[in-house]
């Protein structure tokens, strides 16, 4: 086990295991190719399913004729939304919050209308994937093609084509009289906004437009379902939450959750995009129809066109500031693309946009806007990156206006414990200022900037992280090792961060803990892996179960020594009799005598914790812009983040590096490109450009540790914060390099070149700026 005991985090203190860097438990299978992901599953006598997807972005379905497909070679079943069982329930619990059942169903199999190109219409099960795909081409669908609406401004405009004729804007319970593409309007307000702007010496008002982007996980979605004659349904799939698969599938198919066993396979990346189900209920229906197992996988273009990218957005920001740089008022309007059905994370963007700052007068409006694009889903701190691109760019402008160093200005206005956020909640202990100070004192920030067309940018970001529910079971083996059974699918090494917390409690080595992610029949209810919650919340369940094991072991020692349990004390892994110091036994030895002291030892714990610790990050980036081509090259990147307490520093660094690079891709390379028919023209990894090794420098990380009081080890969620600052950091660095403010994402070479040529008045005529 390499790595020092306290890790290299800033203030390692007295832990044995926490802060060290043990090798992950599930690693060997992953580096040898033995780990089983959803597509690797081999069930005997298994059919293959393929989906027919809409070629139109907006159309009414007049008729569907599946007869010829059903008669095609090897085809065993064809289903459409008509095959959904009857149900009266309107709202179902996703295991992560409620969802509208009618929308969930219609998104999986179109019901009357297709609302985005790629919208599933029917599904075929056949003896092999080639035959299934060929059969989908034999399904005859008659459409009445309608005009698609693709941009937020068009969707919100009067007289825009309506995606749902019966949808009225909901303003916290009040419905608009006319139907609209705006599903929801939300507003936060603290203080008196007009008074705030009246006190300002200068007011900055800017508008931003960001493109839809995708999580980009390398593993396409997959699901295999087997509906037994006894009505019991087993689902194997790549998911961020097996219990959520169970909840959604049960709701959609109107069957009891208890009749479903969801088996989470190894997951090949998710970042929020594998919380919703896309294939599981379809595979289940095909399996019920055919009496055989049905396996489905998506192609890469299906993943882009038909799963859950994160919303593009139009954001207006207005900030009032005094000459000394003190912000007096902040007002924002955020319009997010919900896609085909309501439910964008605009509320989360509203809570995060001014979160790093202590501002007395704040108003934020949020609009959930439907457009003919796939239904958006969560993507790592969903909604926060768009918002931070807007606010942190204006904050940078204000710093230059007030001739203050960008970090100075942020420190002047920084949120601290007790600061009230726009949504009205006051912060507990937080570490934002500490991240600013970490950057300010870092060598990168002090390094001189040489070379022309080079610039340095800074930006901050916040994410509140989640708690939700988790359960674990801990069993002691006779050889003194411990089995940790838990239900949190492991994307970023959480098996190890949980095993380390258990080892710390029991005073044993991390290698002596066997963490296992199991199916929904084998562990207590556990919510999705998401919201950066696993090391925190499932960690709390591990700690509780670990303490119960320790107490039971103390009772076993007492039994062995025939003393009263209260006479036994434990220190690390040694149990000792207070009254007779000669009586002492290690955890390992005691485990060997479990049979004589009462038999097997296994403890369970379920938690639904509060005390969730929000996280802040501040990033520094150096860029060079090629003035002739507009290409932006990232030269250096440093990310400081308040991680509370880094349990396994390597994996905390990995989360920060991965999140930062996704943010860099979002900032300068990635974006959905639609033609005017609403067809995505870059639904592949060639033209949907995710950063490669050659586009990036090393990503240096600074682990700032301001412990979260809500967790015994001080743990805060770390996974989502790092994706929030990069877009604005790059926008500010590009400004520093070429003196031009870019307010559209992606800031790709085309846009940078256009801005450069416009600046020199060299933009060819007819090219609108």
């Amino acid at each position: 086990m390499s790595g020092s005991n306290n890790g290299n985090s800033q203030n390692g203190n007295g832990y044995r295991i926490i802060g060290s860097r043990p090798v992950r438990h599930d690693g060997v299978d992953k580096v040898t190719g033995r780990a089983l992901y959803g597509a690797d599953l081999r069930l005997s006598d298994c059919l293959h399913g393929k989906v027919l997807r809409s070629p139109h972005a907006h159309a009414r379905i007049l008729s569907i004729d599946t007869s010829e497909a059903l008669a095609s070679p090897g085809v065993k079943a064809v289903i459409t939304s008509a095959d959904y069982p009857e149900t009266e329930s309107k709202i179902i619990d996703l295991g992560e919050g409620p969802a509208i059942l009618k929308d969930l169903r219609a998104n999986l199999l179109a019901d009357g209308k297709v609302l985005y190109k790629g919208h599933p219409i029917a599904a075929v099960a056949a003896t092999d994937p080639f035959l299934a795909r060929e059969a989908t081409k034999k399904i005859k669908v008659e459409y009445e093609v309608l005009k698609p609406v693709l941009h937020i401004n068009d969707a919100m405009a009067e007289g825009s084509p309506l995606l749902h004729e019966d949808l009225h804007t909901d303003s916290l319970g009040k419905k608009s009289d006319k139907p609209s593409n705006v599903a929801k309007h939300l507003r936060f307000e603290i203080g008196d906004i007009d008074k705030g702007f009246a006190e300002a010496d200068e007011i900055f008002e800017r508008e931003f437009d960001t493109a839809m982007v995708h999580q980009g996980y390398i593993e396409p979605h997959n699901a295999t379902a087997l509906w037994n004659a006894d009505g019991h349904l087993t689902i194997w799939s790549s998911t961020q939450g097996a219990f959520s698969v169970r909840a959604q599938t049960a709701g959609i198919l109107n069957i009891p959750e208890s009749s479903i066993k969801a088996v989470p396979m190894e997951i090949g990346g998710g970042f929020g995009g594998k919380i919703p189900v896309y294939l599981e209920p379809i595979a289940a229906m095909l399996s019920k129809e055919t009496g055989k197992a049905v396996k489905m996988t998506m192609d890469r273009d299906e993943v882009f066109e038909s799963t859950g990218p994160t919303p593009g957005s139009v954001i207006k920001v207005k900030i009032g500031v005094k000459k000394n740089g003190k912000i007096t008022a902040a007002d924002a309007s955020l319009a997010y693309e919900a896609g085909a059905f309501q439910g964008s994370p605009v509320n989360c963007g509203m809570m995060c946009i001014f979160a790093p700052y202590d501002i007395e007068h704040v108003r934020v409006d949020g609009y959930d806007v439907l457009v003919n694009k796939p239904k958006t889903a969560a993507y790592r701190a969903p909604g926060a990156t768009n918002a931070s691109m807007a606010s942190e760019t204006v904050i940078d402008e204000i710093a230059r206006w007030a001739s203050l160093d960008p970090i100075e200005l942020r420190k002047l206005n920084a949120a601290k414990e007790g600061t009230v956020r726009a949504d009205g909640l006051a912060y507990p202990r937080i570490g934002y200022v500490e991240t600013l100070e970490a950057c300010e004192s870092h060598e990168h920030y002090k390094a001189p900037k040489e070379g022309s067309f080079r610039g340095r940018g800074v930006a901050s970001g916040f994410w509140f992280n989640c708690g939700f529910k988790s359960s674990v079971t801990v069993s002691v083996e006779k050889d003194g090792t411990v089995r940790l059974i838990e239900g949190s699918t492991d994307i970023g090494g959480t098996r190890t961060s949980l095993a380390m917390q258990l080892a710390e409690i029991l005073g044993i080595e991390a290698e002596d803990v066997r963490p296992m992610v199991v199916d929904t029949d084998s562990v207590g209810y556990t919510d999705i892996t998401g919201g950066s919650r696993v090391t925190f919340a499932t960690g709390l369940a591990v700690i509780e179960a670990g303490k119960k094991v320790q107490q039971e072991m103390a009772r076993r020692a007492a039994q062995l020594w025939e003393v009263d349990a209260s006479d036994v004390e434990v220190e690390l892994d040694v149990y000792r009799s207070k009254s007779d110091s000669s009586k002492s036994i290690t955890f390992k030895e005691l485990a060997g005598s479990l049979d004589e002291t009462g038999g097997a030892l296994s403890e369970q714990a379920s938690v639904s914790p509060q005390g969730v610790g929000g996280g802040f990050g501040t990033h520094i980036v150096d860029v060079e812009v090629d003035p002739d081509t507009g290409k932006v090259q990232v030269l250096r990147y440093t990310a400081a983040q308040d991680v509370g307490k880094a349990i396994h520093p390597s994996y905390v660094e990995g989360q920060i590096q991965g999140g930062a690079v996704q943010g860099i891709g979002w900032a300068i390379y990635e974006g959905y490109h639609y033609n005017e028919d609403g067809h995505m023209t870059n639904a592949n990894f060639l033209d949907y450009r995710m950063p490669t090794t050659l586009d990036l420098p090393m990503i240096d990380t600074i682990l700032v540790e301001v412990p979260n009081p809500g967790h015994p080890f001080g743990v805060r969620g770390v996974g989502e914060v790092p994706i929030v600052p990069p877009c604005a950091a790059l926008a500010n660095a590009i400004y520093d390099a070429i003196g031009i403010r870019l307010r559209e994402l992606p800031m790709n070479s085309t846009r940078v070149l256009k801005a450069l040529l416009k600046e020199k008045g060299a933009l060819p005529q007819g090219v609108e700026a």
Binding site: F130, R689, D695, L753
Partner: protein
Amino acid sequence: MDAFDYFAPDNLSEALTLLATPNKTSRPLAGGTDLIVQLRETGLKCDQVIDLKNLAELTQFQSEGGKGWTIGAAVPCSEIYENAEFASQYPGIIDAASLIGGIQIQNRASFGGNLCNASPAADAIPALIAHSVTCQVASKSGTREVNVEDFCQSPGKTVLSEGEILVSLKLPATPKRFGAAYQRFIPRNEMDIAVAGAGSSVVLSEDGKTIESLRVGLGAVAPTPLLVQEISDKLKGKEVDSATFEQAAEIARSYANPISDTRGEDWQRVHLAGVLTQRTLQIACERAQAAL
């Protein structure tokens, strides 16, 4: 991908016979990095795939003893740039061979395949134009030579007629005081297809101060790759200086008439045609001067 039959003939005449099989659509296969994607994603009609990688004529790669080199149409890019002797004489070709896709693609993709795909993006072709490459075409009735700048006729269409195969590329020996370079603009640093590309070659005077002759090829800025003859005619004899390079860029821009698509805007491609011409001419001259 619809079903098809697969053949891997080991001699050219059998390959030509197979390619000419009546009422069957036959497609030649070299590296496959274009063909397999098209079969899988565009539903390209195909009854037979004829794998040409066992044909000696298409996998040959050797110097013709001072009279230039021959590269088989199916030779993968990596094999080309791994040949040190070749690399020292044809820097522009090496630039092109080592830029296409990642290592995995370069171990399969061939110049022949790139030419036959005739994509307007034409990733490697401007470098071939700069090096005055000629294409050796064979059919049942014999062989013929086509200048590489004439090989692509329109997007996806080449000069090859029914039953003809591109067998190899002939590269003339590089004259003294010769320099060449190829660059393409891609948004990332790898894995992208060219938004615009330019290949330039020069032969300098004895003192290395003037350009005796030059060739500039452009890619992704017109339906087919272009040899900008006007640059060769107008700038012959000019000084090796930025004014000349600027003139060349001006002429190059005038020949570019690109489309706008996912990868780039039309005005952007026109602008880049000029920038890349300027840069590759400058590097070509520097390389030629270095060899004086």
